[in-house]
């Protein structure tokens, strides 16, 4: 019986979901982005990072912000740092590649508190920095929450 009511509730919430999606789309990038900019500046020593060269793969829409699969690919990088610019603390993880690493790729699962950009900054072998961004729309908590 209980499962039945719950299903019905979930349905009705889902039908409302459309509105929430539209709203998140309008709100777009959260204002906390500057925290990430500060963190990137600290990492690169103020030099900044250029876009291109590396890639980040994340779902366009994540239904559950608790586990969002993210893959980074940065040929020629010695280290990659991941940021989530809408999280309370933007840092996510730092990957350092050793001598026996076959490719500069890694996949993991991260937490995203809201719709936001996931940013990867790669430190290349020559000391320069490259970055890539992926926007992820997070739906959980948007309406039913």
């Amino acid at each position: 019986m209980t499962t039945h009511t719950r299903q019905f509730n979930r349905r009705s919430i889902l039908s409302l979901g459309g509105c929430a999606l539209a709203m998140t789309a309008v709100v777009g990038t959260p204002a906390l982005a500057s925290l990430t900019d500060d963190a990137i500046a600290a990492l690169t020593g103020g030099a900044g990072a250029v876009e291109g060269g590396i890639s980040i793969t994340a779902p366009e829409i994540a239904e559950n912000g608790n586990t969002v699969p993210v893959e980074i690919n940065a040929p020629g990088a010695v280290a990659i740092t991941l940021f989530a610019d809408g999280n309370p603390t933007p840092s996510v993880a730092t990957f350092k590649f050793g001598a026996l690493s076959a490719s500069r790729t890694a996949s993991t699962r991260i937490r995203l508190s809201t719709t936001q950009n996931v940013v990867a900054v790669a430190e290349m072998a020559d000391g320069s920095f490259q970055m890539a961004k992926a926007n992820v729309k997070v739906t959980i908590g948007g309406c039913g929450g």
Partner: protein, 109 residues
């Protein structure tokens, strides 16, 4: 969080010399972020795994620093080169000082 932590690693048993092999690791850990509150409104203290390393015969493959934004049961997938037969050592470093370890042998034909 010293109890109920179980590392799981997927590594091929055999490989060609110099071949790139894909490694998948998962460890069961609640990764308490330090942002959540309990029913009484008190902050639940942070308790996460803060570092993960993979080595092959003592040579580093990958070294990851984890922040609270890594999901419960941290999962990593990456690629490694195996120059000769040997053993992978995977280590997870807990906030409470514990180190969880897993080893996997690979033989090169």
């Amino acid at each position: 969080m010293a109890s109920g932590v179980k590392p799981r690693v997927k590594v091929p048993k055999t490989a060609e010399a110099g071949e790139a092999i894909t490694i998948k690791t998962l460890i069961s850990h609640k990764m308490e972020s330090g942002q959540r509150k309990d029913d009484d409104g008190n902050l639940i203290p942070r308790s996460i795994i803060n570092r993960f390393t993979a080595e092959f015969n003592g040579e580093n493959v990958i070294d990851v620093l984890l922040e609270p934004a890594i999901s419960t049961n941290p999962y990593f997938q990456f690629e490694a080169i195996v120059p000769e037969s040997g053993e992978f050592t995977f280590k997870w470093y807990d906030d409470d000082g514990d180190i969880y370890e897993a080893k996997k042998k690979v033989s090169v034909a």
